[in-house]
Amino acid sequence: MRYVLRRLAFFLLTLWVALTLNFVLPRLMPGNPATAIIGKFRGGISPQAVKVLEAQFGIGTHQNLVAQYVRYLGDVATLKFGVSLTTQPGASVGRIVLDAIPWTLGLVGITTVLAFILGTVIGIVSAWWRGGRMDSLLPPVFVIMTVIPYFWIGLVLILIFGVKLRWLPYFFSYNYTLTPGFNAAFISNVAEHAILPAFTLLITTIGVWILTMRNTMITTLAEDYVRMARAKGLPARRIMFDYAARNAILPNLTGFAMSLGFVVGGAILIEEVFNYQGVGYLLLQAVNNDDYPLMQALFLLITVAVLVAILLSDLATAILDPRTRTAG
């Protein structure tokens, strides 16, 4: 119990630090939204009109920084993120992010989970039959895939399956002539459009999970209790999954939780290559356009997601591994 409380307190402290950094950093960046707005008017706007705009959006009001900070904290607590300044002027930041999030969560989230599960299974099996045919083939192949830049692999897959063979669509998240809705036609269309980007992401991220799982498994397999279980004649599958894997998976869990947290940051290169509207590309746009409110909201989203994920993984580790509970 004390362990849980300590973790919660630590979580709140890191959250506050993250919020403060999120407030300070964008304001330290060069450039300001006012000139970005003038740029949008492309030389056809008078200085008076610029001043009116600035006042409307609250830039250059030279408000006390502390007052701004306090107001910012209040806004965050009530989930008020304001309106976008330059990316989609006037549109609510919350709505912009909510539009993009499901696509990122769907594509990147599901692929990350799949990669973790598949990678872990392959790692376990490779470790059990280390030196065998599967172990000699799969881990090296996938590790090489991890090193190759995933946008390059994406482009190659587009060339083969999209352009030359025309088997799969490779643009957009769904055929834009369809109206979005929860019907079979739309959902299958979304799934069809997600195959290539998901596959690219899958084969380039699976290598890490295979390798770490395999290595921790090998260490675990050298333990005495495993030898005891084999001597006792337990079937290989039972030892592998019920005893060795459960212990070996713990380090991987923390890594998995963190990568889940980062899912909300999107995979920007995948989104660029496949023209998939997600959060990653939104963040790039916001940074390029000095769009403070959107930037802040996205940074906040990523930080909070990672922190929550770490908290949950700590709690999960506490549940799965009694040793962490008593050490506190």
Binding site: T35, F41, Q48, V125, L168, P169, T179, R237
Partner: protein, 563 residues
């Protein structure tokens, strides 16, 4: 072993899934057979916007105006930049200037209806303009800086009264403002933030919140459009592309027919894919080197003239822009679009319009008293080297390449230039604030050379160093030039206009405040296999890019699907 079999089954299952999916391919829009009566066919636009759509169509918001002005909302007239500012009646049937060019009277067309059935009246026009007066942020082109009142006269006329004569503002007033329905907009609480998701306009196309998603805007033909028989195209799709590369691939595959893209190596990537693929890049404005005229060394006109002689514009155009953007000239007149305005004899007397000549550049510097140092770089009499940085937008790879050529050309004549390729926002804020020595950039221009010359040379457009200026980034200021520009604003006589533009060209040639290097173009690719009626070099009835407003509305009216 059982586990190995499981893995094999899993792999087979994945392959089977992929094979099952191989039946589907992304649907390409193919025009259906068209009957003369009903609009038909699906036109797909290919213009990378860099983000997803918000589906707002407020015609007074610069972020959304290019998606509704021209095809959904219509202006009073159409001014064609490519036909020497030829004016065609649109919602207005005629117009006259009053005494001293201080009043402008439009006669509004009869029989035009908004897409919801409301008739268009002069009252709607008056309301639109007074809306801009009441909310300064909607007045994108600052027309109320010269207007004093807009009022209805009789049943179908609108009289606009000017504070000072400003004839060139006819373009902004007549061509750049969409007329809205008073009955709808008078009920809007805040027109500045009004998203206008279901725009009601007089235009040939309609769009609604149900036909617009973050990924695609679908315009459908307006069955009650006031020009009967038009439009001939039934549906227009405008998908959202995040990057240039995806947009270019989509166009090359034939899934879109109307491109407005910069395509490197267009022959291999696009033209070779089909004999029906064509392109045309009409030049409309200049990309120039802006010279900070407050800099003590650059103040010396000899330095600027030398630089103008030293830059090989053709090479910059070839290497930076694949030759797509023609070379500019120092008089600043975009050719061939505005060739009729170029004072050729005057330009010829300035070294043949500052034709590329490194020897001339060197001799100008030597005659001005600069001496080459031991490193080959010229120095002022007091020993300061002619060494500058040029501010550039690092995000535009073509500009980076052009600046590289400029850098080498200037080095060859003994002026050292370091390229500062920075992020877009930094480039913009430094350019506007005058925080540069040399800078590479462009103005927007307009339907005749006067607009760009005014943006370059009018001192009121500028601002002190450190404050953002709307244009005139080089901080040029000369009361005599200001007076010329004001005089142009007061006249409708073509002879006077040409004479003034000739004098403004003289300023460009004598004083070299900016050095135009290449001419910026409208990017335009088109597929003649699926649609006919495209604007071409032989028939330039409108600016052809999908991002030119309201010209793109004119193009959409002329296109017809091929069966």
């Amino acid at each position: 072993m059982r586990l190995r079999r499981l893995t094999v089954i899993a792999v087979l299952a994945t392959v089977a899934l992929l094979a099952a999916a191989c039946g589907g391919s992304s649907s390409s829009s193919s025009p259906s057979a068209s009957s003369k009566a009903a609009p038909s066919g699906v036109l797909t636009i290919d213009n990378e916007s860099g983000g997803t759509w918000t589906c707002d169509f407020n015609p007074f918001n610069l972020s959304y105006i290019s998606y509704s002005l021209g095809n959904v909302y219509e202006p009073l007239v159409f001014v064609n930049t490519l036909q020497d500012a030829k004016v065609t009646p649109w919602l207005a049937t005629s117009w006259t200037w009053g005494a001293g060019n201080k009043t402008l009277t439009f006669t509004i067309r009869n029989g035009v209806k908004f897409s919801n059935g409301d008739p268009l009246t002069a009252a709607d026009v008056v309301y639109t303009f007074n809306l801009l007066k009441a909310h300064k942020t909607l007045d994108i082109n600052s027309v109320w800086s010269v207007l004093s009142s807009v009022a209805q006269q009789g049943s179908d006329q609108v009289v606009m009264t000017f504070k000072t004569a400003a004839v060139p503002y006819f373009y902004y007033i007549g061509d750049q403002i969409g007329i809205v329905d008073q009955k709808i907009w008078s009920t809007v609480a805040n027109p500045v933030t009004y998203p206008d998701k279901n725009p009601v306009g007089t235009g040939a196309f309609m769009v609604s919140s149900s036909s617009c998603t973050p990924q695609n805007i679908k315009y459908t033909a307006n069955p009650h459009y006031w020009q009967s028989g038009l439009p001939k195209v039934g549906t227009v799709n405008y998908p959202a592309f995040l990057t240039n590369d995806t947009a270019n691939t989509y166009l090359a595959n034939g899934q879109a027919q109307w491109g407005s893209q910069f395509i490197p190596n267009i022959q291999a990537f696009y033209l070779s894919k089909s004999p029906n693929y064509h392109y045309w890049f009409p030049p409309v404005a200049n990309v120039s080197v802006f010279i900070n005229l407050t800099n003590p060394i650059l103040k010396n006109v000899a330095v600027r003239q030398a630089m103008a002689y030293a830059i090989d514009r053709h090479k910059a155009s070839l290497i930076g822009e694949y030759g797509y953007e023609p070379a500019s000239n120092q008089a600043g007149i975009v050719t061939p679009t505005f060739s009729g305005w170029l004072d050729a004899p005057q330009a010829a007397s300035y070294g043949n319009n500052y034709a590329y000549s490194p020897q001339k550049a060197i001799s100008i510097l030597e005659q001005a008293g600069f001496k080459r140092g031991s490193d080959g770089i010229f120095q002022t009499p007091s020993g300061q080297p002619l060494s500058f940085t040029i501010l550039d937008n690092g995000g535009f790879s073509d500009w980076v390449a052009a600046v590289n050529v400029i850098q080498q050309d200037l080095k060859a004549i003994g002026i050292q230039v370091k390229a500062d390729n920075v992020a877009y926002s930094t480039w913009q804020s430094d350019l506007y604030a005058g925080q540069f020595q040399l800078a590479y950039g462009s103005e927007t221009g307009g339907p005749s050379p006067y607009y760009e010359l005014r943006q370059w040379l009018y001192s009121a457009n500028s601002a002190p160093i450190g404050t953002a200026a709307g244009s005139n980034f080089e901080r040029y200021s000369n009361p005599a030039t200001d007076q010329l520009i004001n005089e142009y604003g007061a006249t409708t006589s073509p002879a006077t206009q040409h004479s003034i533009v000739n004098q403004l060209q003289a300023v460009m040639l004598k004083e070299v405040p900016v050095i135009p290097v290449t001419e910026s173009v409208d990017w335009f690719q088109y597929d003649t296999g699926s649609f006919s009626g495209w604007p071409t070099q032989g028939n330039p009835y409108a600016q052809p890019a999908a991002y030119n407003y309201p010209d793109w509305g004119q193009v959409m009216l002329q296109l017809a699907p091929k069966s």
